[in-house]
């Protein structure tokens, strides 16, 4: 199933949208769904925290201005503390230098202002996901595209290895024969 998809498409199956404006959220959700992404919409920190922990999104799109007194900056700070490998794109109406600085400091991986070109948003999602993945895996482990990454079989725990460039694809464990996806995170 994964063979027909690029690595990045596999990486960002599920996108968590954190947006307080229902119309904005609905538009974004529809557009992303049309582009083969699964989405989950949350409106504030409480909902976003639950969704982030329970459903383990592959990507987060986050507005800085949220209801209930907790900003998107704090939401991002929380998410990055919990799992830094999940890319966070801040999509916000705030176009201030200080906001970009703060976003960078709390771990935001990309910053886009509204109104936005949705096609550019999709391109940005792909670029950011690739970049974060590279940063958290290939670069950290000093593994080039053709080199090997090692990971355990989710079925029997056997130590498996595969080419870095095959991330996101599926193989059968030689020991237990269970299908295992080469980890993308």
């Amino acid at each position: 199933m994964y063979d027909s998809l690029s690595a990045v498409e596999v990486i960002i199956n599920r996108i968590l949208i954190v947006e307080g404006n229902p119309d904005e959220a609905a538009f974004l959700k529809d557009f992303l769904n049309q582009n083969r992404f699964q989405t989950e919409v949350t409106r504030d920190f409480g909902q976003a925290r639950s969704a982030f922990n329970l459903h383990q999104p592959d990507f987060v799109i986050l507005e800085a201005i949220l209801p209930n007194k907790v900003s998107g900056f704090e939401v991002c700070e929380y998410m990055k503390r919990e799992k830094s490998s999940v890319p966070v794109l801040m999509l916000t109406e705030i176009d201030l230098d200080d906001a970009r600085h703060l976003a960078a400091r709390v771990g935001v991986d990309a910053y886009m202002t509204k109104p936005y070109d949705p096609n550019e948003l999709v391109r940005m999602i792909r670029r950011v996901a690739e970049s974060v993945w590279q940063h958290s895996h290939a670069l950290r482990d000093n593994v080039s595209d053709g080199e090997l990454i090692r990971f355990p079989c989710t079925g029997c725990g056997a130590r498996l290895k595969a080419r870095n460039s095959h991330r996101g694809r599926k193989l059968n464990c030689p020991r237990c024969h269970q299908g295992v996806m080469i980890p993308v995170h």
Partner: protein, 220 residues
């Protein structure tokens, strides 16, 4: 064919006064991807209306939009002529059609000026113009006016005209040097960080200044 360029001037947002040149060919406004001027608003239909520039005026054809197209506050039933000085309203947006009746409007706008045929910016490309409209100024201006507008993407601008619209860079506030992901290349100084006790406090201050720049009160 129109002998002079027809220009719609945005009437909303902090960049009020920015302009979109209309071509002689048909242009469409709508939420759909094929629209010449795209507006992602729930109030705007996918194919909302069509603009046809002719003889110094614009023929506006409503494409059976759900919420209607309005000229000077009156609904367009089928099609209607937009004369210079008239207001076109599409969903939440209002544009003024500039024309001969305007008292030299292009010289009044600090953000835009027209270059003559032999001006030094003759080599300004269409991409330059489109980028100016699509990336920051126009969308920002419109976004501030609307709560449910996500996009004003770009207008296909007149390419054959000898008088391209040229932005005046001087009005732009100083911008950071950003990386490909829209984040600052340089880290913020520690002085700035130390002004705040927490991320929450700094965020609230940023949000307050954002609303202040819009002339609005922060939402609760």
């Amino acid at each position: 064919m129109a002998s002079q360029p027809l220009i719609l001037e945005i009437q909303t947002g902090k960049h009020k006064g920015r302009r979109i040149r209309l071509t002689d060919a048909e242009m469409t406004i709508g939420r759909g991807e094929n629209s010449s001027i795209r507006i992602a608003s729930a109030e705007v239909s996918r194919d909302h209306c069509k603009l046809i520039a002719e003889n110094g005026r614009v023929r506006v054809v409503d494409l059976k939009s759900r919420n209607g197209t309005f000229i000077d506050g009156r609904p367009v039933d089928g099609e209607k002529i937009l004369n210079p000085g008239g207001l076109l309203t599409v969903g939440p947006l209002t544009f003024l059609l500039l024309g001969k009746e305007e008292p030299n409007p292009l010289l009044q706008d600090p953000g835009v000026r027209l270059k003559g045929k032999k001006g030094s910016d003759d080599n300004l490309s269409d991409d330059d113009i489109a980028a100016w409209l699509s990336d920051t100024d126009l969308p920002t201006a419109l976004a501030h006016e609307l709560t449910d507008t996500s996009i004003i993407k770009r207008a296909d601008l007149e390419t054959q005209s000898n008088e391209p619209l040229v932005p005046e860079p001087a009005i732009e506030e100083s911008r950071l040097s950003l990386n490909e992901f829209g984040l600052p290349k340089q880290p913020v100084s520690s002085d700035r960080r130390n002004q705040f006790k927490s991320v929450a406090e700094e965020a609230q201050e940023i949000i307050r200044r954002h609303y202040e720049s819009l002339g609005e009160k922060p939402q609760s």
